[in-house]
């Protein structure tokens, strides 16, 4: 290489190049790491600090250090905190399962090439690229019980008008529907690419052996697709747990009269911006962060186990 070719008097340029090459790992990653560190470290310390105090009304006024009291309060709170955990898990879990199943179906549907596939693939991408705040507003209008189109539509089929977002029992499911509408396409596209990359031989062999369509997919295709499925779930799980724009646009702070749409993210928002209880809001955020990291770890472990 350059170093060996040069004379005893190694030029400074070559010296520099050698140094750059030896430390390339760090030179290439340092700017990105520093940027993330710079933007994340202060908020993280700040949040932990606040979570150990009774900060309320304003973050700058005198506050008392109260240790882990906020966390103890939260872990004993069966009125707001645990239901919010439950809703977060339900919203993400149910959403992910439906999205995975629908996406799998959609991917299999679109797998074989057909005329007009460019148009269809573009069309199903639209929900994904539409601005989430705008999407939330749009669905709110559609689901208004008295003026929205949803009830007009189901009445065409003789189904009585529903409360949708305004019925505490249906709110979360309606929101899951919106989530499914917006994110199934992305998962379907990931799975489509996964389908394109798996070898065709095993499937053909199964066909020759007389396996039915269902058998072929359950025993051959889907197992081969597992890495793509897990990758799609991981990608989606983080964002799904953190869903905020749509919940906020449709139900506002507090998640409705019975807190029916209050997930952990909304709860943290409510405590912080609605109640000005910054201490306990920070504690919620930390527990929330732990939950997300736990979910990421779970999916990663499951995908490793699934790959074996």
């Amino acid at each position: 290489m350059a170093l060996q070719l040069s004379d005893k008097s190694i030029s400074t340029k070559a010296k520099l190049e050698g140094w750059v090459d030896r430390n390339l790992k760090f030179i290439f990653t340092l700017p990105a790491l520093l940027l993330v560190l710079a933007l994340i470290i202060y908020p993280l310390i700040y949040t932990i600090q606040l979570a150990l105090t009774d900060a309320s009304r304003s973050t700058t006024r005198a506050k008392n250090f109260i240790g882990l009291e906020n966390f103890v309060t939260l872990l004993h709170d069966t009125e707001r905190f645990w239901p919010a955990v439950g809703r977060t898990v339900y919203f993400t879990g149910a959403g992910l399962i439906i999205e995975t199943v629908c996406a799998l179906g959609l991917a299999l549907l679109l797998r074989k090439a057909f005329r007009g596939q460019g148009i269809v693939r573009t069309a199903i991408l639209l929900p994904l690229v539409a601005t989430p705040v705008a999407v939330g507003m749009m669905w709110m209008l559609i689901f208004q019980p008295s003026i929205g189109f949803a009830n007009v539509f189901i009445e065409w089929f003789g189904i009585p008008a529903q409360g949708w977002l305004s019925d505490p029992g249906q709110t979360l499911n309606t929101l899951i529907f919106i989530d499914v509408w917006q994110w199934t396409p992305m998962m379907a596209l990931i799975l489509l690419a996964g389908l394109a990359s798996i070898p065709e031989e095993p499937e053909e062999a199964a066909l020759v052996d007389g396996a039915s369509w269902l058998q072929r997919h359950i025993y051959v295709t889907i197992p081969m697709l597992k890495p793509a499925i897990f990758a799609a779930i991981l990608l989606r799980a983080i964002d799904s747990l953190k869903t905020f724009d749509i919940l906020y646009a449709t139900k506002g702070a507090g998640g409705g009269s019975n807190h029916e749409a209050e997930t952990l993210n909304v709860l943290a928002y409510s405590y912080s911006f609605d109640y000005q209880d910054y201490g306990i809001a920070s504690a919620v955020l930390i527990l929330f962060l732990i939950l997300i990291c736990g979910a990421v770890a779970l999916v990663t472990v499951a995908s490793k186990a699934g790959a074996k």
Binding site: I45, R57, S257
Partner: protein, 436 residues
């Protein structure tokens, strides 16, 4: 970790020092007296909520800018986004906020307690021509804490009955004057088969607190007693919750627990409800034919009398104040003075149906010519009976609203109201201990 924390507190001290330096500079600037000449060329940032009065200010702003030489940047936001910005910016002691338009019943105490709003007592009383005393007494009280003025009112509103004249005429029904009559009328005008309802009101717990408050007062209770204790544990309060819940559940549209003011009004605007009981400031939209299919068919009536008489709220919904961290307090005050002058408030009232806090606006026939006559009459009758707040007057208002609003949800869903009210009262008592 420790190292970083220490450095961080150093940053904070430095920042605090910088801020207090600016504060001192600001204060010493004040003692010179607000000489209009010195503010020429300053730039101020004004945060305000989208809607009536803001439209007028936007339209007339060039007048102010050319008169004073102050450059004004208007930052128009939704109500909740406005609150969010205040919290983020003021918690960071930001200087890039000069004039704050805010909801006094929601925020005056919190902002004053946090030291976020500048005390403008001397400024409001210092200008005879502008005339602080022209603002109604209750509106001045709404922006004042312990005899210190923190803001200037710019819009007021009262709880009234909006009614659909056609529906009332079709059945020959008279306007209700008492709670009993209100229920009877609501019952008579409800026809679920055709999807028309006797009455529509707010039902979303937090939002419904304001429209419920008039019922609470008229039944003889209040959020907080004179001794500073919870007032919602009384039999009167339970009766009010029960009445409100029954009325909306039996004679209102389904899905009531999710209706906020906007959605409730939407139903009335489609001609699907005979009555809508809410703030009179909504009249402008209800009479706008591009928004409402009942425009021109709407009558206005005073709030009905309960066991304790008719005690509707009459509140100051918006006010403008100066940020305590502003470096341009003189220019900010000049802007507020202009934007709350008779000229601007009268224009807002006649062009945008934004009810003025100035008594003189209501007596000026040029202003009221464009404003529903019945509302002017209601305004004059309310001044003696009405209550000056529509939610608990505490520091952490939203937290209190969630507590006292919970029994509304129970009542709307037909649950055990007495137990819910008692439970809410206990929580509220606990809350009041901390809210000092």
């Amino acid at each position: 970790m420790k190292e970083i924390t220490r450095r961080q507190s150093l940053i904070k001290i430095a920042a605090a020092a910088t801020c207090s330096m600016f504060l001192l500079a600001g204060c010493s600037g004040n003692t010179d007296g607000g000489d209009a000449g010195s503010i020429e060329g300053t730039k101020i940032n004004v945060n305000l909520a989208a809607g009536g009065w803001t439209n007028t200010v936007e339209k007339l702003l060039p007048e102010f800018e050319s008169k004073t030489g102050v450059k004004v940047s208007l930052n128009v936001l939704g109500t909740e986004q406005l609150d969010n910005q205040y919290q983020v910016k003021l918690n960071s002691r930001s200087e890039d906020l000069d004039v704050m338009v805010y909801r006094p019943s929601q925020s005056t105490k919190l902002f004053a307690d946090n030291g976020w709003l500048e005390d403008i007592s001397d400024r409001v009383s210092g200008d005879e021509a502008w005339k602080w005393t022209d603002f109604s007494e209750s509106s001045r009280a709404a922006t004042t804490v312990d005899a210190h003025a923190f803001g200037v009112p710019l819009m007021t509103e009262r709880d009234i009955i909006f009614y659909n004249k056609e529906m009332f005429a079709a059945k020959g029904i008279a306007i209700p004057k008492t709670m009993d009559e209100l229920e009877a009328v609501a019952k008579a005008l409800t026809d679920t088969t055709s999807g028309t309802y006797g009455v529509v009101m707010r039902g979303k717990a937090n939002a419904a607190v304001t429209s419920f408050s008039s019922f609470l007062y008229s039944f003889g209770a209040d959020w907080i007693t004179k001794d500073g204790d919870s007032g919602i544990g009384t039999a009167e309060a339970a009766a009010a919750y029960q009445y409100y819940g029954d009325l909306v559940r039996n004679y209102g549209p389904p899905g009531a627990t999710s209706l906020d003011g906007t959605e409730a009004r939407g139903i009335f605007q489609q001609g699907k409800a005979a009555m809508y009981i809410d703030a009179d400031s909504g009249a402008g939209l209800i009479e706008d034919a591009t928004q409402s299919s009942v425009a021109g068919k709407v009558g206005y009536a005073a709030f009905p009398a309960g066991p304790a008489g008719a005690k509707p709220y009459d509140v100051t919904s918006w006010a403008a104040g100066v940020s305590a961290y502003s470096k341009n307090k003189d220019a900010s005050w000049e802007f507020i003075k202009w934007a709350t002058s008779s000229e601007v408030l009268n224009a807002a009232m006649s062009d945008q149906s934004s009810p003025s806090p100035r008594i003189s606006s209501w007596a000026d026939s040029a202003v009221t010519a464009n404003y529903p006559e019945e509302l002017v009459k209601i305004f004059s009758t309310y001044s003696s009976t009405a209550v000056g707040h529509d939610r608990p007057q505490v520091i952490q208002v939203n937290k209190a609203r969630d507590i006292v609003g919970a029994p509304i949800t129970v009542a709307l869903e037909g649950g055990d109201v007495t137990a819910a009210a008692k439970q809410a009262s206990n929580s509220f008592t606990e809350f009041l201990k901390t809210d000092k």
